[in-house]
Amino acid sequence: MEPRAAARIRRTLLYVGLTAAAIVVLFPFFWMVVTAFKQPGQAFSPEIFPSSPTLQNFRRVLTDYGFARYFVNSVIVATTAALFATLFASLAGYVFAKKRFTGRDKLFALLLASLMIPGMMYVVPQFAIINRLGWMNTYQAMIVPHLANVFGLFLMRQYMMTIPSELLEAAKIDGAGEWQVFRTIMVPLSVPIIATLFLLTFQFHWNNFLWQLIVTNLERLYTVPVGLAMFKSAHEELYTLKMAGSCISVLPIALIFFFAQRYFIEGMTMGALKG
């Protein structure tokens, strides 16, 4: 009887600890949602659940403040960028995993070394390059500079190395060309990692606020985070609207995470655990 009672107390304490931790970690998001549903002017009422919840804040940021447009821009930028970043990383990952070619190891070391460079380093020169290309205020300015995803290449290579080379050789004996081997054997066998990288790059571009802020100053090209930052500096006092905008900003990623969390967690931690 004694050890079982002790086990029960221990279990209860663990649940209390876990729940307390979850409340602390998730509180900002809870508070964001609750505030977004409050009546304007009631942003700071301390009530945990609004007494007369309203959808008015969402309606107003989407229509009066252009968040519908920003949302479409974010979807365009993040989807296009994720598609191409994943494609380029798959092609490159395949080559690094399965081909022997001149300069391979040196090139791979060089690519990995670039991961050490702080992101702030790139802000000024990339901005100048975009200017010189005449790409300011375009979608491609937001997308193209971040299409070479070295971390993604690394994930692809690690995964593709586990696919048996015999499969590729057998296909070649049957007369398949290089591209066909890639498309009909590598891609179908790499679906989990391709899905992972797509989600991770989508998430990266959805949240790529600083860069999107730098290369756009036309309101019709704002993405959700840029729109939110501009809204924040222009209407510091409209808290309920700001929280509604914040909800709209995190909702897609939160939803994707909810349905595909395994891909996120494994993809994001894989590099750290293997490297």
Partner: protein, 310 residues
């Protein structure tokens, strides 16, 4: 067999490889490799005061930007604030991540739900997280100020947590730690679960207490993760920007020897400020070069003194 392959087969293989690599390498070359050098070129120039044409108009100024940097009190202060940021976020990040991992390392129903809940904030946007925390930290009416008031602490009421120089940086760091802890948690959890259970059993037989087992088995065996956490904590301090932008804009001001300097004025934010607000491209580029040098120094020091395989 590369040694025995004919020259023709070899060059065909090279051609295929580089064709597949081409899109990736072109983008890498133009937007990630070239900028490292281009940035140095920009750092040796300045945008003339009356010019909006940043390319035709770039003026060669030699090392003037670097010279100015070394006498710029605001810059050295920003390096100091970056170190302070790192000194706060590294230990607290490790402590929170490890605590969550230890809580999760139990066979309990629903434990994966908690795991997801702890990880989720990591994938969300720092800008949004910062904006929400600004609301929570607000003076007078913010929820945190009210909670403190309800237990009789009114010290934060007037200016809020972000408005007081002593609490601004820890508040920014707290927001970031709670957002990012899920990542470290997963790393620690998998390291803990790889530890051989017989080690704990043996220690238990020898009469080691829970704390002793943690200290002499768990902690040494998760050291590679701790090492990694120190590195990513340092990198996140050197890159700190969105959280500062969203919450404090580098403020509030503190008086340092008669000069007003920002209590959260980290180098990453100063680079942005010089570039975006003042449009001093050359100066911002010079600063980002110093940031790169600091990153390299830190990683060498880490490797030399903290590496798990010394």
């Amino acid at each position: 067999m590369p040694g025995t392959a004919s020259w023709g087969a070899r060059s065909r293989e090279n051609l295929t490889a580089y064709t597949f690599l081409a899109p990736f390498l072109i983008i890498f070359g133009v937007f990630l490799a070239y900028p490292v050098f281009y940035s140095l070129y920009i750092a040796l120039h300045q945008v003339p005061a009356d010019s909006f044409d940043i390319f035709g108009g770039l003026q060669f100024v030699g090392l003037a930007n670097f010279r100015e940097l070394f006498t710029d009190q605001k810059f050295w202060w920003s390096v100091l604030m970056t170190l302070y940021y790192a000194a706060l976020i590294i230990p607290s990040g490790i402590a929170v991540s490890l605590t969550l991992a230890l809580l999760l390392n139990n066979r309990l129903k629903g434990v994966t739900v908690y795991r997801s809940a702890f990880f989720m904030p990591y994938v969300l946007d720092m800008l949004v997280v910062g904006i929400v925390w600004t609301l929570i930290y607000s003076p007078h009416v913010g929820i945190l100020v009210r909670i403190f008031e309800s237990v009789g602490i009114t010290a934060f009421t007037e200016r809020g947590f972000l408005g007081i120089s002593g609490t601004a940086m820890p508040s920014v760091v707290l927001a970031n730690v709670l957002k990012g802890a899920g990542f470290g948690m997963i790393l620690y959890l998998s390291a803990i679960q790889n530890i051989d259970a017989s080690l704990y059993e043996a220690a238990e037989i020898d009469g080691a207490s829970g704390w002793e087992r943690f200290r002499s088995i768990t902690l040494p065996l998760v050291k590679p993760i701790t090492f990694f956490m120190v590195i990513i904590g340092t990198i996140s301090a050197l890159n700190a920007f969105a959280e500062v932008y969203a919450m404090t804009s580098g403020g509030p001001n503190v008086d340092v020897g008669g000069k007003a300097l920002g209590a959260t004025w980290v180098t990453g934010y100063y680079v942005f400020d010089a570039f975006y607000n003042q449009f001093r491209l050359g100066y911002a580029a010079a600063m980002s070069y110093v940031l790169l040098a600091l990153t390299l120094i830190v990683s060498v020091v880490n490797r030399r003194f903290l590496s798990p395989e010394y």
